[in-house]
Amino acid sequence: MIPMSKIVRTITNILYVFIIGFGFYVIIHGHLTPGGGFQGGAVVASAFALLAVAYGRKKIVSMLNKEHLSVAEISGLLAFICLAFLGLGTVFFFNFLAVGRSIPVFSNTPAGINPGDLNTAGILPLMNIAVGVEVLSALGVVILTMFLGFKEGK
C-alpha cells in the first residue's frame, strides 16, 4: 500500500483530530445522548483506518503498537468487570454511585428539563469509558492486522 496523494493526506491531517474528538464526545456523553462506549470507540477506530488509508502501511505500523493496543483492550475489559464487582456489597452490577450518593462522583440527580448534566448516572459513564477504551483498541488491533496482510507497493 503506497501513501495517497498530498490532497488526501492534508485533509486527513485536519480531519482525524476532529474524528477522534467526536468519538470521545460520543463515549463520554453515552448516558445522555444516543451512542455510548461501543459507538464512540468505533468512531475513534475509524480515524485509525483513515490514517492507514491515507499514509499507507509503513506509517500506521510505526504509529500504532499492537501489543500496547492489546493491553489497553484488556484494561478496558478489566475496568468494566471490576466496576461490576464493586457493586457486590449489595448486588453484582449494583449502581452504588447513583443510589447511595455517598461518593460525590457522577451522583447528581437533576430535576426537570435541563441541558444535560454530565455528572449523573453513577457507574454508567465509567462503564461507557471502559467499553470505549476496549472497543477503540480492539478495532485498532483489527485494522492493524488487516493492514499487515497487504503487500508493500500495491
Binding site: L77, F85, F93
Partner: protein, 514 residues
C-alpha cells in the same frame, strides 16, 4: 464466612472465570509461569464455589439472582408486574451441569499445561478457554432467553477460535469455519425465536414466558426453531456434519471441552422442552420426534465411526452416537412426562448419561491428545505398538473404551442399562437398536485399540516416551471418576441425578419465582 457469600455465588461463578479470561492475558505478559499459577487459582476457586453452591442448592432448593437490583431476590422491581432485569436462576439441573462443566474444564486445564508449552499463542489459548467456560456456565445459570443467546454466541466464537488452534493446517481453518457457520446459524435461530416471544409477550424471562405462554402458532414455530437450533449445536444426526470435523482438527484438550459444550446445548434443549413449554405441548408427538432424532444419531454416528481412520474424527462420530443416546432417553422422558414410571427413569438415565458422556468422551479425547503429543500423529494407519512405551495412557484408553461401549464396571454401563430398560417399555425395537449400536461401538474402539496400542513396534516410535505427569494426572482423574461412578451408581442417581430430573418434571418451582 460463606453465609454472606452464598447468595452471590450464581454470578460469582460466571464472573470469576470472566475476570480470569482477561487478567490471564496480562499475566502472560509477565511470564508463562505466573499465568499458569493464576489460571490454576481461578479455576480452583471456581470449582470450590460451584461445589459450595451445589451443596446449598441440593439442600435448600433453587436460587435466584437479580443483577443490579437492591437485593438479589428482588426479581420484579416495585410497581412492575413482570421482571425487567437480568435474572440468573440456578436449580438442581443447572448446578448439576455447572459442576460437570467446571470439573471437566479444570481437568482439561491441568492436561494442557505441558503440551501447550510447545506452541505459540498460548496467551490467547487460556483467554479463549476461560471465555468458553463462561459461555457454558452462562447458558446453564441464566433465567433469561436473550442472555442464553448472548452466552451461546460467546461459547460459539471462543469454541471456533479454539478449533482453529493449528492455524498452519488448512483443514483446521476449514473445520473452524464450518463450526462458526453452524453455530452462528444456530444462534440466529435462537434469536429469531426470542423475537417471536418478545413480539407476543414483551418479555424475555424464561419463567415469566412459561407462565403467560398461550401456545399459539407462533409459539409452536418458536419451539421448532429452538429444537432445531439446540439439536444442531448438540450435534444430533441430520445436523451432525460439523462435529467430526471440529473434533478431529481441534487439539485433544479442546475437543474434550467441546464435548461438554455440546452437552450444554442438550441442557438448553431440555430446559426449553420441559420448563418453557412443559405439558402445554403434545408431549407424545414431540417425544417421538426427539426419540427418532436420537435413533438416527446413534445409527449414523456408529456406522460412520466404523470407517474412520483419523483418531479425532472417529471419536467425533462416536460423540454423535452418544448424543443420540441422550436424545433417545430425553425423548422417552418427554413423552412420558411424569415423576413415576419408565418416563422418569428414562429422564434420569438421560441426565446420568450426560454426566458419563462428558467424562468418557473427555477421557478418550485426552488420550488422543496424549498420543498426538507423544508421536505427532493422528492417523490410525500410521500408529502401532504404543502400549510398549505408553502403558499408563494405554490403561486409561481401556477405561475410556469400556465406559463408552457400556461394559459393566464403568459408568457407561449403569446409564446405558437404565436407558435400555426404560426405552424397552416405551418401544422394544428402539431398545434393541440401542443395544446393537453399543456393541458396534465396542467393535469401533477395539479396532482403535489394536491399531494404536497393540501390534508390532514401529522403528519410528521406538524412542516414544510416556507423556508427562501432569497429563497422566488429568487422564487419571477422569478414569478414577469413571470407575467410582461405575462402582456405586445408585449414590449418584439418588442424590444428584434424581433432584435434577425432578427439577425438570416439577417445573412449577422454576416458573414460580417471578
Amino acid at each position: 464466612m460463606f453465609e454472606n457469600l452464598v447468595p452471590h455465588l450464581p454470578i460469582l461463578i460466571i464472573a470469576i472465570p470472566l475476570f480470569g479470561a482477561f487478567a490471564s492475558y496480562l499475566f502472560s505478559k509477565v511470564s508463562d509461569k505466573a499465568r499458569d499459577v493464576f489460571a490454576f487459582i481461578v479455576l480452583g476457586v471456581t470449582e470450590f464455589l460451584v461445589l459450595v453452591l451445589g451443596k446449598d442448592i441440593y439442600t435448600n432448593g433453587l436460587r435466584v439472582y437479580t443483577l443490579g437490583a437492591t437485593s438479589a431476590e428482588l426479581t420484579a422491581p416495585t410497581g412492575y408486574i413482570m421482571p425487567v432485569r437480568i435474572i440468573l436462576e440456578v436449580d438442581a439441573l443447572s448446578i448439576f451441569m455447572g459442576i460437570i462443566t467446571v470439573t471437566v474444564a479444570f481437568i482439561v486445564f491441568i492436561f494442557s499445561l505441558k503440551p501447550m508449552k510447545e506452541y505459540s499463542g498460548t496467551d490467547k489459548y487460556y483467554t479463549l478457554m476461560f471465555l468458553l467456560l463462561v459461555g457454558m456456565l452462562g447458558i446453564e445459570f441464566t433465567g433469561d432467553l436473550f442472555n442464553l443467546f448472548v452466552f451461546l454466541e460467546i461459547a460459539s466464537i471462543a469454541g471456533a477460535a479454539l478449533v482453529a488452534f493449528f492455524t498452519h493446517r488448512d483443514e483446521s481453518a476449514e473445520a473452524a469455519f464450518k463450526y462458526v457457520v453452524i453455530c452462528s446459524l444456530g444462534a440466529l435461530l435462537v434469536l429469531f425465536a426470542v423475537a417471536l416471544f418478545y413480539g407476543q409477550y414483551d418479555a424475555l424471562n424464561i419463567a415469566y414466558l412459561a407462565n403467560v405462554m398461550k401456545y399459539s402458532l407462533l409459539d409452536k414455530i418458536a419451539f421448532c426453531v429452538l429444537l432445531c437450533a439446540f439439536a444442531m449445536k448438540a450435534g444430533s444426526a441430520p445436523m451432525h456434519m460439523w462435529k467430526p470435523d471440529a473434533y478431529g482438527e481441534a487439539p485433544g484438550p479442546v475437543a474434550a471441552i467441546l464435548v461438554t459444550a455440546s452437552l450444554v446445548s442438550m441442557y438448553a434443549l431440555l430446559r426449553v422442552c420441559f420448563t418453557l413449554y412443559g405439558r402445554g405441548l403434545n408431549t407424545e408427538v414431540i417425544g417421538w420426534i426427539i426419540t427418532v432424532l436420537g435413533l438416527l444419531s446413534i445409527f449414523i454416528g456408529v456406522t460412520m465411526a466404523l470407517i474412520q481412520n483419523n483418531f479425532g474424527r472417529l471419536i467425533g462420530y462416536t460423540a454423535v452416537a452418544e448424543v443420540g443416546f441422550i436424545l433417545l432417553a430425553a425423548g422417552v422422558g418427554f413423552a412420558g412426562f411424569s415423576s413415576t414410571g419408565f418416563g422418569f427413569t428414562a429422564l434420569q438415565a438421560g441426565l446420568f448419561h450426560i454426566l458419563n458422556d462428558a467424562l468418557d468422551l473427555g477421557l478418550l479425547f485426552l488420550v488422543s491428545g496424549a498420543v498426538l503429543h507423544a508421536t505427532g500423529k493422528r492417523n490410525l494407519n500410521e500408529l502401532s505398538g504404543l502400549a510398549r512405551n505408553m502403558k499408563y495412557t494405554c490403561i486409561f484408553f481401556i477405561v475410556g473404551l469400556c465406559a463408552v461401549a457400556g461394559l459393566p464396571p464403568m459408568n457407561g454401563f449403569a446409564s446405558k442399562l437404565m436407558i435400555y430398560e426404560s426405552v424397552y417399555q416405551f418401544n422394544p425395537v428402539f431398545s434393541i437398536i440401542a443395544i446393537l449400536a453399543s456393541i458396534f461401538m465396542l467393535a469401533v474402539f477395539v479396532k482403535v485399540f489394536y491399531s494404536v496400542f497393540l501390534g508390532p513396534e514401529l522403528k519410528e516410535f521406538s524412542s516414544v516416551k510416556e507423556v508427562p505427569a501432569s497429563m497422566l494426572l488429568a487422564m487419571g482423574a477422569l478414569a478414577v471418576l469413571i470407575i467410582v461412578i461405575g462402582l456405586c451408581p445408585d449414590i449418584f442417581v439418588n442424590n444428584v441425578i434424581n433432584p435434577a430430573a425432578r427439577a425438570l418434571i416439577d417445573y412449577g418451582i422454576y416458573r414460580g419465582v417471578v
